[in-house]
Amino acid sequence: MDKKLLIVDDEAHIRMLIEQTLEDLEDEGVELLFADNGADALRIIQEERPNLVFLDVMMPKMNGMEVCQKVKKELNITETYIILLTAKGQEVDRQKGLDMGANKYMTKPFDPDEMLSIAEEILNL
């Protein structure tokens, strides 16, 4: 079965950056999915069951924390690995995010090489 990776961020350039960063994964057969808000992200997660989600915390309407909580605590989707993305300086939210069920934390600006290797590791590539 093909692996799926969801990129969630309300900022188009960040989505583009992550897509560009992870483009090598497409050659490995990973399907990249995108969402620009929390509600869409939640829907896609439910429908597509991606293996990995890069989830921005600061988003209007439903933020990353809420999405994470709904996925992990309410819908009990445990097989989806969620990495929360937060701006540098907001590390105080780290524990809160982990409490909400996030598997990992990455700060923005992220290191593209680090992001790619983490994704490869989680997707067993």
Binding site: H13, M16, L17, Q20, E26, D27, E31, P109, D111, P112
Partner: protein, 561 residues
């Protein structure tokens, strides 16, 4: 090998993007045209597997990306749509790539600023700068150069890549480098200039940027590649930014070091003052007050301690000093103190006060050390006097008086002037005892309390000298003479007459004055240096003819200090 941007864009719209595939499919259905697209190596990316008559190449920047196969011209509209979608996707990917490149640069600058902010020396900052720059700018060699105006020299403080001759070249091309640094601009060096410069022989591509803070340039970063990689304006701009950031960090590090040095200098000065002040106020005194440093001492600090006070007095100082100039006199006293001080300290005491022709020492660990020091001081002087005799100088003799008891150590004075002070009856008594040692003609005189305080009295030999009531004191004091500080002959005499002297003292206190006088005379006759024997002989002789009160206990009342 990873795919080119164009290949990726094509693959994206034809294989991955569901929406595009759907639209293309519907276009085929509605037009009734059958078509397909395959890669240059014949792999079907999209469309029907049938064999088609016609083909069109999809080219991009003079490169064939694949073949569009179709049955009739009706399918050409689909090909045009495909070309347009490809173009859009390619542009998007190209921009994405550029944005990622910029993002990497920002990240690097971010990392760099974080890394160098932790460094406090120029060398580490330079090293990190070159390492970080090499992550994002293709280079095989780099130099971080600083111009030292004081020594008028250019120094390499960090380097990447091997170049054994780099330092020799820096020295050789000092003036060129100085000129470049002074100019303070960034540049990509033209290939022909690289070829002409022997110092750059190993490189094909070179660029440099200044290390600048405000308008002052103090160095430069030069980097290059062994291959022809051709640096872009964007890379030069990046190098300039990195260098600028590094320069600011070096400037801050320099200011920090300067500040640190000032603090260290101040601390050194304070330490020196502390060392000197410790000589004026003994550290043992400060420690006794429970303080580590003199700076922690305040007016009114005090502590009560059990101590042994030792007064040392140079006998006949006036006679000695008469023959000396004031300077020589001072030198003589200093010479004397220099000999005695170490003996006091060695035995656990410290000199509380110098008294011109002697000193007062305190021993806080019982009287054993005090008495040992007293004996050793006499021995030291006996050696010293041998040397003085050779130079025909008068011998130096001392008298020592000791008392043990409670004492208050404290800081006295006012807000403007402080002094270490001791307040105690023990001190007054010790001073009196030292005065009495002159009267008795003893080298070391101590009280009963002091003797009782000895941890190992068997080390010494004593003679009981009766009771004395010093002037201004209510209670009489029992006195003992320690004979171990006497010259060898006298000491041997006293030792062999210890029992006889004791007997004589008993007779004297039992008011058997005639018998006592005879016995004291017997002792005195065998060595006329025995001053206490002489003194008691005279007293006993006097008392023979005197009327004695019933309650006479042999207490000698002193009328002078």
């Amino acid at each position: 090998m990873s795919l080119s941007t164009a290949d990726r864009a094509l693959k994206h719209i034809l294989k991955r993007d569901k929406a595009t595939r759907e639209i293309l499919g519907r276009l085929c259905d509605s037009s009734g045209a059958a078509c397909a697209f395959e890669t240059v190596d014949g792999q079907l990316l999209w469309g029907s597997e049938e064999v088609f008559e016609h083909t069109r190449d999809l080219t991009h920047e003079d490169k064939v990306l694949g073949k569009f196969r179709y049955s009739s011209d009706k399918a050409l509209l689909i090909f045009d749509t495909l070309k347009l979608l490809f173009q859009k996707e390619w542009e998007k990917k190209k921009i994405g790539k550029e944005v990622l490149g910029l993002y990497r640069e920002i990240n690097m600058i971010y990392d760099l600023s974080e890394l160098i902010s932790e460094k406090i020396d120029a060398e580490s900052i330079a090293k990190v700068t070159l390492e970080e720059a090499s992550q994002i700018i293709d280079m095989t060699h780099a130099l971080f150069l600083i111009y030292d105006a004081e020594k008028d020299t250019v120094i390499q403080i960090a380097r990447l890549g091997e170049n054994p001759k780099s330092e020799a070249f820096i020295e050789q091309q000092k003036d060129v480098l100085k000129e470049l640094i002074t100019r303070g601009v960034s540049a990509i060096v033209p290939a022909e200039r690289i070829a002409k410069n022997p110092a750059l022989k190993h490189l094909k591509t070179v660029m440099y940027a200044p290390l600048k803070v405000k308008h002052r340039t103090f160095g430069m970063v030069i980097l290059g590649h062994e291959e022809e990689v051709e640096y872009t304006a964007a890379e030069l701009k990046l190098l300039t930014t990195i260098s600028l950031q590094s320069a600011t960090a070096i400037e801050s590090a320099h200011l920090y070091q300067k500040g640190l040095k000032e603090v260290q200098d101040r601390e050194e000065a304070i330490r020196k003052i502390h060392d000197v002040s410790q000589k004026f106020v003994p550290s043992e005194f400060i420690k006794s007050l429970g303080k580590a440093k003199i700076t922690e001492v305040f007016l009114g600090d005090l502590v009560e301690r059990e101590v042994t006070v030792v007064f040392v007095d140079i006998r006949g100082f006036t006679t000695i000093s008469e023959g000396l100039s004031p300077t020589d006199n001072f030198l003589f006293v200093n010479g004397f103190n220099n000999r005695m001080g170490p003996i006091v300290r060695k035995n656990g005491g410290f000199i509380m006060q110098y008294l011109g022709d002697g000193f007062m020492a305190l021993f806080t660990e019982g009287s054993q050390g005090a008495l040992t020091a007293s004996v050793e001081m006499h021995r030291e002087l006996q050696e010293y006097n041998k040397a003085r005799a050779l130079k025909e100088r008068l011998p130096v003799r001392i008298g020592v008086g000791m008392q043990s008891g409670k004492l208050i150590m404290g800081i006295t004075g006012d807000n403007e002037r402080l002094d270490a002070a001791i307040i105690s009856d023990t001190v007054n008594t010790a001073a009196r005892i030292e005065g009495l040692s002159k009267h008795f003609g003893t080298s070391i005189l101590l009280t009963q309390e002091c003797k009782a305080n000895l941890t190992d009295p068997g080390q010494f030999d004593f003679r009981y000298l009766g009771r004395v009531q010093p002037k201004g004191k209510k209670q009489p004091i029992d006195l003992y003479e320690c004979i171990n500080g006497d010259a060898e002959d006298l000491q041997n005499h006293k030792l062999s007459n210890l029992k006889t002297f004791d007997d004589a003292m008993t007779l004297f206190l039992d008011k058997e004055f005639a018998m006592a006088a005879v016995t004291f005379q017997q002792i005195f006759k065998s060595n006329i240096e025995d001053q206490p024997a002489k003194l008691f002989l005279n007293r006993a002789a006097q008392l023979i003819t005197q009327e004695i009160e019933d309650n006479w206990k042999g207490v000698e009342t002193m009328t002078t200090k």
